[in-house]
Structures are given as C-alpha cells and as structure tokens.
C-alpha cells in the first residue's frame, strides 16, 4: 500500500474543460467526444503548430493543474495507451503509399513527445517518464509517478494520462475506443485532508467501468467515494481514502 495526496487536478475532453463542466460530468457522465482540441494559447505559436491532439490535451491539462511556480520544479510522468495515434497511423499510410515521412512528424511521433514538449514549454529540466500499459495504462502510469515521488518525497510529481480517439483506419479492429481525453494530477506525499491509498488488486472479478480509468478516478475524487477499483481482472488497482486521523466531530455538511 502506497499513500499519496492529490494536490490539484484538471482534465480536458471535447466540450469538457471547466471545473463546473467536470463536476456536472462526474454526476451525469456521458460518452466522450472524439474530435476537437484545446486552443493552447499559453504555448508559443511555433510549438503550438507542431502539437497533435494528444499533446494539446495533455499540455492543456498540465497547465490548468500545476501552479506556474511549480511548472519548472516538478518531476513529470506521462501515460498513454496509444500515444499520438493519429500521427502514427498517418505515417503508416505514408509508408504504405511509398511516400517519405515528414521529419517533423517523425520527430513528434516518439512516445515521450508530450513529456518533451512539456519540458521545453515549462522550462522544466527534471526527471520525466512516458508509460504505456494497455488497458491498465492509468494505474501503471500512476505507479511510475508514485515511484518517482517516493524517490524524491519533497518534490511534487505532475502525472498526466490521456489518449486520442482511435483513428478511423484502425477503429474497426479496436475494442476500446473511448473518445479523446487528458487528465493531469499533481501528486504530493503530504497535503491537507486524508491521503489516498494505492494498492495492487489481483482479484479476478471484472470491474465493468464505462469510462477511461483516468476519468473514473477523477469522478471518484470529485464524488468523495470510499473505494475505487480500476484495471483488468487480476492486474488491477485499488484506491481507498485513508481514515482521517481525528475527524472534527459534528461539522455540518454545507452542501
């Protein structure tokens, strides 16, 4: 069991940006849209032009989640099952058509493109990592982030997880097209309120959740759930709110 705090969070999906929109989504979730990309006005135009949908969503979430003074200071972990999938599929189509690749597209097709763009934009010289772990990508990326947090407990870790919608040419053979999204979490070892506990969940029962794990986690955070189980059977993750050491008795619930 590993304890951590979520000091901040932000997410982007087409039509879902503001805290109010996400609060509403947490109560009445619906399937995510596929198309659309955030404006990213805080990124210099030359860099913005090179940003694919995933980079835009992830940078938007990172910017919205992380206080400006921490941007150059945090360690960062980016997780995505498919990375810049549209760029990759575009390059495969070019090669099949005997056409040469664009050097810019090729340079931006590595899985750590978003980590690289983040470090350049935020002038962040620190540790970063880029993870992919199939259906269990969110939990494994978080595990990587917690490993880095544990190694340097006083330095927050910015954890960003997201995926593009599955591109058209491969949509027909894909069983996990969940729309486009990115979630950013600012993780710390200390913070206000009860810490969250993270553990592996090796039980074999399925966890039929309708939305991407990252956003199920966000819902759970917003709805103050007690326990959350994510990931595939036998290779999942369990989150719990640790009991608050001394609850202030009788505090009226203002909501």
């Amino acid at each position: 069991m590993i304890s951590f705090h979520v000091r901040g969070s932000a997410a982007w999906s087409p039509g879902l940006e503001t805290a109010e929109q996400w609060a509403k989504w947490a109560h009445e979730p619906r399937a995510l849209e596929r198309e659309g990309r955030p404006e990213l006005l805080f990124v210099p135009p030359l860099m913005r032009r090179r940003c694919d949908q995933l980079s835009r969503m992830m940078l938007w979430a990172a910017h919205a989640c992380c206080p400006a003074e921490l941007l150059p200071e945090v360690n960062a972990v980016f997780a995505s099952r498919h990375g810049a999938f549209g760029t990759m599929v575009g390059m495969l189509e070019e090669l099949a058509g005997q056409r040469t690749l664009s050097p810019a597209a090729f340079s931006h097709s590595v899985h750590n493109t978003q980590a690289g763009l983040f470090s350049i934009w935020a002038r962040n010289p620190r540790v970063s990592s880029s993870v992919a772990a199939g259906a269990a990508t969110f939990g494994h990326g978080l595990l990587e982030a917690l490993g880095i947090l544990h190694a340097e407990p006083d330095r927050p870790v910015l954890y960003v997880c997201g995926d593009e919608a599955i591109p058209e040419p491969v949509r027909g053979i894909c069983d996990h097209d969940q729309g486009a999204f990115a979630l950013a979490l600012l993780l710390t070892t200390h913070g206000e309120g009860a810490p969250l506990d993270f553990a592996l969940d090796t039980s074999s029962d399925a966890r039929p959740l309708a939305y991407p794990d990252a956003l199920e986690f966000l819902r759970w955070l917003r709805l103050d759930g007690e326990e959350l189980r994510l990931g595939p059977p036998r290779a999942g993750f369990r989150f719990r709110r640790a009991p608050t050491p001394s609850p202030s008795a009788g505090t009226p619930d203002s909501c």
């Binding site: 990375g83 999938f85 090669l95 750590n112 980590a115 990587e144 190694a151």
Partner: protein, 396 residues
C-alpha cells in the same frame, strides 16, 4: 536510492545471441557483423546491425503478439528463463514485475498490415492493434512468462532502455514487488529507417563517432533483458540519474548541460566521485550534434583521462533498446574475471579537433581494476530525455 542487483542478463544484438558471444566480440571490437538495409521509400542502402541468428517462434497461444520485435524479446528472455522461473517459485508470480521499454514495438508488423490495406482495402485479419502499443512487448512477456505483478511499458525514445532499469529499481524500492524483469527491445522497421533518413541523420557508411569525418548514425536491432532483485552482491545497478534538456524535440542542448546534470545525478546517487569510474560507455551516435555535446559533457564531469568508447560502431544504434544493451555491455565487463577488458572505440582514427580530447579506448586496452570495477553508460533521446547509469560490483 538503494542499489539493486542485476542478477541475470539475456542479450541479443548483431554481435550474437548469447551474453558470451556478445562479450567476446565486444572486447575484440568486431565490426564484421553489419549487414545492409535498404530504405523502402528512397531505395538508399545503409549499413544495419541486424541480428543474425534465427529467432524463436512465438507459440500459437500468443499469435496476436507475433512480430520480429517480440521474437527478439523472446530470444533474450529465453536466456534467463530459468532464473525468472526460480524467482517466481521463490516469491510468487504476483511479486514479480515487468518494465519493458521499446521505441518501435511491433510497428514492423503494422507496416505490412497497412500495405495490405492499401492493396486490398482492409487490414488483414491477423493484424492486432497491440502491435502498435508501446505497452505491447511488456504484455507479451507477461503472458509468455506467467508473471502477475505490475506490467509496465516505457518509451522515452533513445533513453528508454536505461530508464526502464531505473523504473524497475523504483518498483523494488516501493516494495510492491520482489523482482523485476526489465530492459528494452527494438527491431528493424521502415518507419525509423525512413524517419532518420529524412532527418539526414544516417551515415552512408558505418558510423564513425568522435571523428572529424563523422556523418551520422547507423541503426541496429536487438534486446537486453535483466532480472533485478534487492539481493546484495554480484553486479549491481549502483546509481542512476535522469534529466530533461528543456531545449528541442529532436536536437540535444549543445553545451551538454542536460547530459552533465544526469551524469552528476547518477554519480551522486551511487555515492561515487567521477574518479571512481573505470569506463564510460558513450551514447556516441556519430551525429555531429551528439558527439560535440557529449564530449563536452564527459570532459566537464570526468576530465580527459577516464576511458570511454561508443559501442555503436559494433552493434549500431538500437534506439530505445540501446540504453539496456549498453548497460548489458557494462554488466558483462563488470562480471568478467581478472582484469577489466574494455571495448575499443572503433572509428577511422581521425579525431575531430573541435571536440574535447576525451580518452577513447584503444584496441587491447585494459582498465586497472581497483576493489571492483565501476562503469557508467549514457543515453540521450528525442524530447531531450537524458539518463546515465552506474553499474559495478556490489558489496557481498
């Protein structure tokens, strides 16, 4: 962070498909193993460090994972399978983790599938989308080995393999597992060949790092997979350092500041001084920019006397796998009995006078072993992703 033990190594490169074959040819500086690859689009031919030996077949049960990349991973893991199974026996399958890096994954299989789609209008039935997932190689090895702990794919361009080992060490440190199978694999594909061709990064003849005539990199393929535990003794991962350039998506920061930071972090993590290091395995890609930046960083951290070589003129640049393979070379050297033999820096001998005159290993050069050798390896990738590892004999 605590050191961890690099128990066993499975290694497949152009130099051979066993650790022993790799060590012999590494010390000999054998450059005879390169073949030729032809860029699918331009038709231009380049040297390529292909694996020679036939690769094991993937069982029909795991047919969806079948591709050259996973066959290379299987060839490497087969060499250490007994040790992994003993570890599963000792700790239980749920207490073993996987951290497998790759920058290509099964993209070669995807290239063929997209060619079929272009000719026949649909992707072939045999093509599975997992081939395009960077987590695919880790997933394949989990199924192949029956491992039930965390299973993580990691991909940070050319620093992937080195970072996978540090990620594995962090999992051990968290206490979430008792052993980790970790390393990286990359395979020949049209995408990287054409991509680097279009970046004008490929050398027309064999890569020639640190030479005034250097003209780019030579690609290669292969896999290096370790079994890591918390046990003392043997050869250990003594330290690691990571940094980001925060400079450019595909070019290193020219002063070497990012490289210097990760090297100093690795030494501090290992509790060592620069003078404690017996040998540095350079990233040494043979591009103008890398070698200029790296020679500056090495001179700045180690001075001009620490023996260094790039082993890419022996196996090629294995991209994401290079960090793991070069850590593997350091592991082999640290495991060798008696004097520490060093891999020679093979190039045309015409040093670039513009570069810092770092000490490049000559053929037959041997390091004077002190109380136990300590070696360092560097990896620098697209996105400005830097990693340095320190590997050496651990306290028994």
């Amino acid at each position: 962070m605590s050191a961890c033990r690099l128990e066993e190594l499975g290694l497949v490169t152009a130099l051979g498909s066993s650790a022993r074959a790799n060590l012999e040819r590494l010390i000999a500086g054998d450059q005879s193993r390169f073949g030729v690859t032809r860029d699918h689009v331009s038709g231009v031919e380049r040297p390529f460090g292909a694996v020679h030996e036939p690769l094991p077949e993937i069982s029909s049960r795991l047919a969806r994972y079948d591709c050259r990349n996973n066959r290379l991973a299987l060839a490497a893991v087969s060499q250490i399978r007994d040790a992994i199974e003993a570890e599963i026996e000792r700790s239980g399958a749920q207490r073993i983790a996987l951290v497998i890096g790759s920058s290509t994954a099964g993209v070669q299989a995807a290239e063929r599938a997209f060619e079929v789609r272009r000719e026949h209008g649909a992707l072939p039935d045999c093509f599975d989308l997992v081939q395009l997932e960077f987590g695919g190689p880790a997933e394949f090895l989990r199924e192949e080995l029956g491992i039930e702990g965390p299973c993580l794919g990691l991909s940070t361009a050319c620093s992937t393999g080195a970072k996978a080992l540090l990620s594995a060490r962090r999992l051990l440190e968290l206490g979430i597992c008792d052993a980790v199978v970790a390393g990286a694999v990359d395979s020949q594909c049209r995408l990287t060949a054409n991509g680097f061709e279009e970046l004008q990064a490929l050398a027309p003849t064999l890569t020639n790092p640190m030479s005034r005539n250097r003209a780019g990199l030579t690609l290669g393929e292969g896999a290096a997979l370790f079994l890591l535990t918390r046990d003392p003794g043997g050869v250990q991962l003594l330290g690691g350092g990571e940094s980001s350039d925060a400079h450019h998506i595909s070019a290193p920061e020219p002063s070497g500041s990012g490289a210097i930071r990760c090297l100093r972090a690795a030494l501090a993590d290992a509790g060592l001084e620069p003078s404690d290091i017996d040998y540095v395995n350079l990233h040494g890609t043979g591009t103008l920019q890398n070698d200029a930046m790296e020679s500056r960083a090495i001179a700045s951290v180690f001075g001009l006397d620490t023996p260094c070589s790039s082993t890419k003129p022996l196996v090629g640049h294995l991209l994401g796998a290079s960090g793991a393979v070069e850590a593997g070379f350091c592991w082999l050297l640290a495991s060798a009995p008696f004097q520490l033999p060093l891999p020679p820096h093979r190039f045309d001998g015409e040093r670039d006078p513009e570069l810092e005159p770092i000490s490049l290993v000559r053929a037959g050069q041997v390091a004077t072993r002190r109380d136990g050798s300590r070696l360092c390896t560097t990896s620098f990738g697209f996105g400005g992703s830097n990693c340095a590892l320190v590997i050496g004999a651990g306290a028994a």
